[in-house]
């Protein structure tokens, strides 16, 4: 779990070195001023981000058994993980989640940001706060809340079924559970992405709009030619965060598991699998291996998203 959050920031390390390079020819003696400034950060960074990753990598080369103790096994854990059907099932599930949920969420967030920014909306600051509010609700509370609403017997779904004589299928059944989780995540993170996009829209100089309208552009033309191109970096950032969020899916299924234990398995998402291997199965080494593989895959996909986004920009 720690691995995942580590990988994107670690990309920052080279840039700090790059800053120092131009100084070299001028100063004979090595100048430590830069290091003094970033030193405190680097110490914390090394301790809480780099060290756990290195330790996880170290752990992944061992195998500690309840009977027989600890032994070095090389890449055995990696071999096991790459052929583990449970692992790939969970990876497949979060990939599907990512492919379906993220475009919907970003689409709605984009629509909301454009609507609020359009200046045609009354009470726009109210909508801005209202849409953002779910993000301020802790994921645990949000999931519990939705979990109760999803209840087919006494929850909202049950009440709707009774009252209107409907037959809404169980949202926490095998068929719908991923969509039900997607709904919760979308509800939680639309506000966050909306603010991200909205902030990007606010920095567009107003004279651009003025010029566009003088040229006879209507609102949709302005969106297509001015707002969307400006938003592209923000959408890429939102996309990268969503990649990480999707592959790290944990809170929502983990909490819903107590409501639907037979639908949400202990290996529902890769993170849940790693968590359960480690904390109920005492397979710390294998769990670390899974975490590292998930981290690598997430980094690769995040990189692809970033690349495809920036390429269009150029």
């Amino acid at each position: 779990m720690t691995t995942l959050s580590t990988l994107p920031p670690s990309g920052q390390a080279p840039s700090t070195q790059a800053l120092q390079k131009p100084r070299k020819p001028r100063v004979q003696k090595r100048d430590w001023t830069g290091w003094k400034f970033i030193g405190p950060f680097m110490i914390v960074f090394a301790l809480v981000l780099i060290a756990p990753v290195l330790y996880s990598i170290y752990l992944s080369f061992f195998k500690d058994q309840l009977v027989g103790g600890n032994s070095f096994v090389g890449f055995e854990n990696y071999g096991q993980a790459l052929t583990d059907p449970k692992f790939w099932e969970s990876m497949g599930r979060v990939t599907l989640f990512f492919v379906v949920q993220v475009p919907i969420m970003l689409g709605i967030a984009l629509f909301a940001a454009l609507a609020i920014d359009s200046a045609r909306l009354h009470l726009s600051s109210f909508f801005r706060i209202a849409i953002f509010l779910p993000y301020a609700v802790p994921a645990v509370v949000a999931t519990l809340m939705w979990g109760f609403m999803y209840g087919t017997k006494f929850g909202l779904v049950g009440n709707l079924n009774d009252f209107f004589d409907l037959a809404i299928p169980n949202p926490l059944g095998n068929t719908w559970v991923l969509a039900a989780i997607g709904n919760i995540v979308t509800w939680e993170f639309i506000g966050y992405n909306m603010i991200l996009f909205y902030a990007a829209l606010r920095v567009i100089p107003t004279d651009l709009y003025e010029a566009a309208s003088l040229d006879g552009a209507n609102a949709f033309r302005i969106i297509r030619s001015i707002k969307l191109p400006t938003l592209r970096p923000a959408i890429v950032i939102g996309g990268i965060f969503s990649v990480i969020g999707s592959f790290q899916l944990f809170n929502e299924p983990s909490i819903l598991q107590s409501l639907a234990p037979n639908t949400i398995s202990t290996y529902f998402s890769p993170n849940m699998y790693a968590y359960n291997l480690s904390f109920s199965g005492q397979q710390y080494n294998y769990s670390a291996t899974i975490a590292i593989i998930v981290g690598l895959i997430t980094a690769v996909i995040a990189y692809i998203v970033q690349n495809s986004g920036s390429r269009k920009e150029v």
Binding site: L66, V67, F148, K153, L259, N262, T266, S280, G281
Partner: protein
């Protein structure tokens, strides 16, 4: 290596002889720490250790433990007992397992349920209490609870509460639909059909797949799916006669849609117990207190009857839940810790625990007139303990849990749970569960045979 070592020792002896006073002081200090941390001891040693300045850390979630600790501190003013709620059940085992793995940070005493005990005992994380003479307490406990703590020739905990199973049923619902109290599982299925036909919203019971319940039911059916010899040789057969008996019976309820798909301890569950849509519960004897506090609206409606059996006229029951208190091998105050465990589960602690609603495992308490004669208002004045104590006596012998039961139970819903979700054959689910457990056991270095 050897020479410098003996050299230092020689020098140290010389030094000690020269300063006699210092020697006697250090010896005294040695003796006192050695006393508290001793690996073995008698009742007198324990009593002596309890007179010394000691702090004990206890991890427990049972509500009575705080009061027991207070009573203990009153009796032994030099001993301070820190009661820490490190989580209930599995949450605590995770922390305990981590502390054991880390080699430090474990408490002196921990509450451990019977199903989890083999896991900690066989990994040598717990102290064999017979080293402190506590095995002499055997006669005080019911055979089934003693059997749960007496593993592989050692005594790894003293039983605290127990959970002999009984059938709790809602008399009001039974009256309303003209049902009679079933005594066999066949009658139970017939009652379930009658109830569900009369009211499609009402179910005989709820079950979404619970490893604790399933293993207890297999236990009652006479199954012995888990056998462990020499701590590491494990044989697993979840298709033995008893396991099949349970699965075949429960299949009939499951496939005919006669079980409410409501998870125990959920909000829906409490509501179902209150409004009569869940008519019976087959569960441990610790349930009355939970009904009283969790389902106050159904006061007066509930009754207790013996757990239905497979053959008419038979008597058979099983334990469901319950646990004991163990002394950790990491403890530096094993004597005092053993003294606390004894106080808690054989001395004055037992009554405090009963007063807090725990179902005891001590024979004297179970057979006392006060306990048996207790008329529960919640249960319409029924003498519930008569039924529950009888169940304690009828528990089938010979059951044992796996040395990795905690993990096995955690993957129950991945396997057997799928049968519940699809309303399909539980035998298939049990076979899947067995495969997963066997794989895990072998992975962890046990020799597992099917």
């Amino acid at each position: 290596m050897k020479a410098p070592h003996s050299n230092t020792r020689l020098r140290r002896t010389a030094l000690a002889v020269a300063t006699g006073l210092a020697l006697s002081v250090s010896l005294a200090a040695c003796a006192s720490t050695g006393g508290g941390g001793a690996e073995t001891g008698t009742a007198d040693d324990i009593e002596a250790a309890l007179q010394e300045e000691t702090t004990l850390t206890v991890w427990a979630w049972a509500p009575a433990v705080e009061d027991i600790a207070t009573a203990f501190e009153k009796k032994y003013p030099n001993v301070t007992v820190d009661v820490v709620n490190a989580g209930t059940g599995n949450d605590q085992y995770i922390k305990l397992q981590n502390a054991i793995k880390a080699g430090s940070g474990a408490p002196d005493v921990a509450q451990i349920e019977y199903y989890a005990l083999p896991q900690f005992a066989l990994s040598e994380a717990l102290v064999d209490l017979s080293d402190f003479g506590l095995d002499s307490l055997e006669d005080q406990y019911t055979a089934s609870t003693w059997g749960s703590v007496n593993l592989d020739g050692g005594v790894y905990a003293l039983p605290q509460d127990s959970g002999p199973m009984a059938m709790f049923y809602n008399q009001a619902v039974f009256d309303q639909y003209g049902l009679t109290v079933p005594t066999t599982w066949d009658e139970y299925i017939a009652t379930a059909e009658k109830l569900h036909a009369a009211n499609p919203n009402a179910y005989i019971t709820n079950d979404t797949g619970d490893a604790g319940f399933a293993t207890s039911m297999i236990w009652q059916a006479g199954g012995q799916p888990f056998t462990t010899t020499d701590s590491t040789d494990v044989a697993i057969n979840l298709q033995d006669e008893g396991s099949k008996k349970f699965a075949d019976t429960w299949n009939q309820l499951l496939e005919k849609d006669l079980i409410a798909p409501t998870s125990s301890w959920s909000d829906e569950w409490y509501r179902g117990l209150g409004d009569g849509t869940i008519a019976t519960l087959n569960i441990g004897a610790w349930m009355p207190g939970n009904l009283e506090s969790g389902v106050p609206e159904a006061a007066g409606n509930w009754r207790v009857a013996p757990l239905p059996v497979y053959e008419a006229g038979d008597t058979a029951s099983a334990e469901n839940g319950g646990g004991g208190d163990a002394v950790l091998a990491q403890s530096k105050n094993k004597l005092a810790a053993a003294g606390f465990v004894e106080f808690m589960n054989s001395g004055e602690g037992t009554q405090i625990s009963i007063d807090a609603g725990g179902f005891p495992s001590t024979v004297a308490d179970l057979e006392s007139d006060e306990f048996l004669g207790y008329e529960s208002e919640y249960f319409g004045g029924q003498k519930i303990n008569e039924v529950l104590v009888q169940s304690a006596n009828d528990v089938v012998e010979g059951w044992s849990y796996l040395p990795f039961q905690v993990y096995s139970n955690s993957i129950f819903s991945d396997t057997v749970g799928q049968s519940y979700a699809d309303k399909s054959d539980l035998n298939a689910g049990l076979t899947d569960w067995q495969k997963a457990i066997v794989a895990y056991g072998n992975e962890q270095g046990f020799t597992v045979t099917e």
